[in-house]
């Protein structure tokens, strides 16, 4: 059966001599994998339409519940190649894409998520370089909020009281009173009130005006570490793209040459 849908390419994986297995976030079928025959050959009719982040109209051939339908056609709606061609943008968006792939089960339709990712790609494409660091962090926060995995930073998760200690194992801030009986001995992470303000605005403000948020570098670093630790606890492993990012940032050769 031939079906048509819209999808955003999340990842491609080499298969056989010149084939690819493409992971899409589709508008009506959620995350799916599909098989493309010979797209790696230079004269392939697929061209660059199977490159990561491409938003395309696709035709799939296979049974309704087929685990790996065949891609028969792929027409680019928006290539978002500007994001792929910017090294820092691509590394940052890879974190978001990997989060999507590990947190969202396959084949569960989620139109809201598809629109969310499309809006984010459009916003990043149109943003100025100076606001990109904050924007990438905001997109990760908003993704977690959209799918219900966001950490709670607005007051103590048990009593609603004031607190600045974030407990990854509880996914929330806990005040000193509540922390003692419930999570005694667990590691926590002290954050500043500026970080909490920025986090709250990141979730509440519409994405297209989020470039008005101008956080300090310390706030970005603190929140980025918090999210990484929160995700590492949730997934029981570190994201590949986070490790990649830390590796690049910690590489003295790279740092000394790019700063």
């Amino acid at each position: 059966m031939l079906t048509r849908t819209e999808g955003i390419v999340l990842k491609t994986q080499k298969y056989g001599e010149a084939d690819l297995i493409v992971t899409y976030l589709t508008s009506d079928r959620g995350i799916i994998k599909a098989f493309a025959q010979s797209p790696r050959k230079t004269r392939s009719r697929f061209g660059s339409s199977l490159e990561p982040l491409t938003h395309a109209k696709i035709s799939l051939w296979g049974k309704e519940q087929a685990t790996l339908p065949k891609i028969t056609q792929s027409d680019i709606i928006n290539s978002f190649h500007q994001i792929r061609e910017d090294f820092h943008d691509f590394i940052s968006i890879s974190k978001l894409v990997e989060m999507l792939m590990v947190l969202i089960p396959e084949s569960i339709p989620n139109k809201k998520l598809f629109t969310f990712l499309l809006n984010i790609l459009q916003t990043i494409k149109e943003s100025e370089q100076s606001s990109k660091d904050a924007l990438h962090l905001i997109t990760r926060i908003r993704l977690l909020a959209t799918i219900g995995y966001a950490p709670r930073l607005k007051g103590c998760g048990r009593c609603g009281g004031k607190g600045l200690n974030f407990y990854p194992a509880s996914g929330t801030i806990l005040c000193n009173k509540c922390a003692v009986p419930f999570v005694a001995g667990q590691s926590y992470f002290k954050i500043s009130s500026n970080t909490i303000h920025f986090y709250t605005h990141s979730i509440e403000w519409p994405i297209h005006i989020s470039n008005r948020l101008k956080p300090r570098q310390e706030v970005l670093a603190e929140l980025s570490t918090l999210l990484d630790r929160h995700l590492t606890y949730l997934l029981s492993k570190k994201l590949h793209s986070s490790e990649f990012h830390s590796g690049i940032s910690g590489n003295q050769e790279y740092k000394s040459r790019t700063t």
């Binding site: 298969y15 061209g47 290539s79 190649h81 793209s241 990012h245 050769e253 040459r257």
Partner: protein, 197 residues
């Protein structure tokens, strides 16, 4: 399948990339049908490659010696390095007979989502080669896809400050193709990279 030796061969062949059980069965029956010396020749070739083939100490091309024939050759231009992802890419470029410089095989491409970091590739070795040799140009010939492009950008950022000329192989349309069927990204790249006639 009841026969132990055939089943064993099928199982072993399915370990190869792109070989499923059906193909492995077909290959096994083909091997059963060929003369013994031909089958032994295939088996010996596999044993030989494991015993003798290794990566060149300088460029990481596949070789039987410590240093490959390209790196040893006095006929090659020692001032230029062409960076490729895999040894198979090097063979294709050699077939063009246009390039006469040296190579550096990275043995992969950067991929944040798969956790392929610079440390897992032969990037530090490339930096050392550029620092220690009389290299004036590095041609980045990684694949024209997202992983290849990410790798190219990273290499460009770490090599440029060393004072060498960094070039990237051109993007564009394949010869014999038709513009009508080109996608927007390929076509826009070929217009950006147009040459004066």
């Amino acid at each position: 399948m009841s026969n132990g030796v055939v089943e064993n061969l099928i199982n072993e062949l399915t370990k190869l990339p792109g070989i499923g059980r059906k193909t492995a069965q077909r290959l096994s029956f083909f091997i059963m049908g060929i003369p013994e010396d031909e089958a032994l020749s295939i088996a010996n070739a596999i044993i030989e490659i494991k015993k003798k083939a290794r990566f060149c100490r300088q460029c990481f091309n596949i070789t039987e010696e410590e240093i490959c024939s390209i790196c040893r050759s006095s006929q090659r231009n020692k001032n230029t390095i062409c960076v490729v992802e895999e040894p198979s890419n090097l063979i294709v470029i050699e077939n063009t007979k246009i390039y006469n410089g040296l190579y550096h095989v990275l043995l992969g491409a950067l991929s944040p989502i798969d956790g392929v970091t610079p440390e897992r590739l032969k990037i530090n070795e490339l930096v050392e080669r550029v620092k220690s040799g009389d290299i004036s140009e590095v041609i980045i010939a990684t694949n024209p896809n997202t992983k290849g492009e990410t790798t190219a950008q990273y290499l460009s950022q770490i090599l440029k400050p060393l004072g060498v000329k960094i070039t990237r192989i051109a993007y564009g349309l394949p010869i014999g193709g038709d513009i009508e069927f080109a996608d927007e990204v390929t076509l826009s790249k070929s217009i950006e990279g147009r040459n004066e006639m």
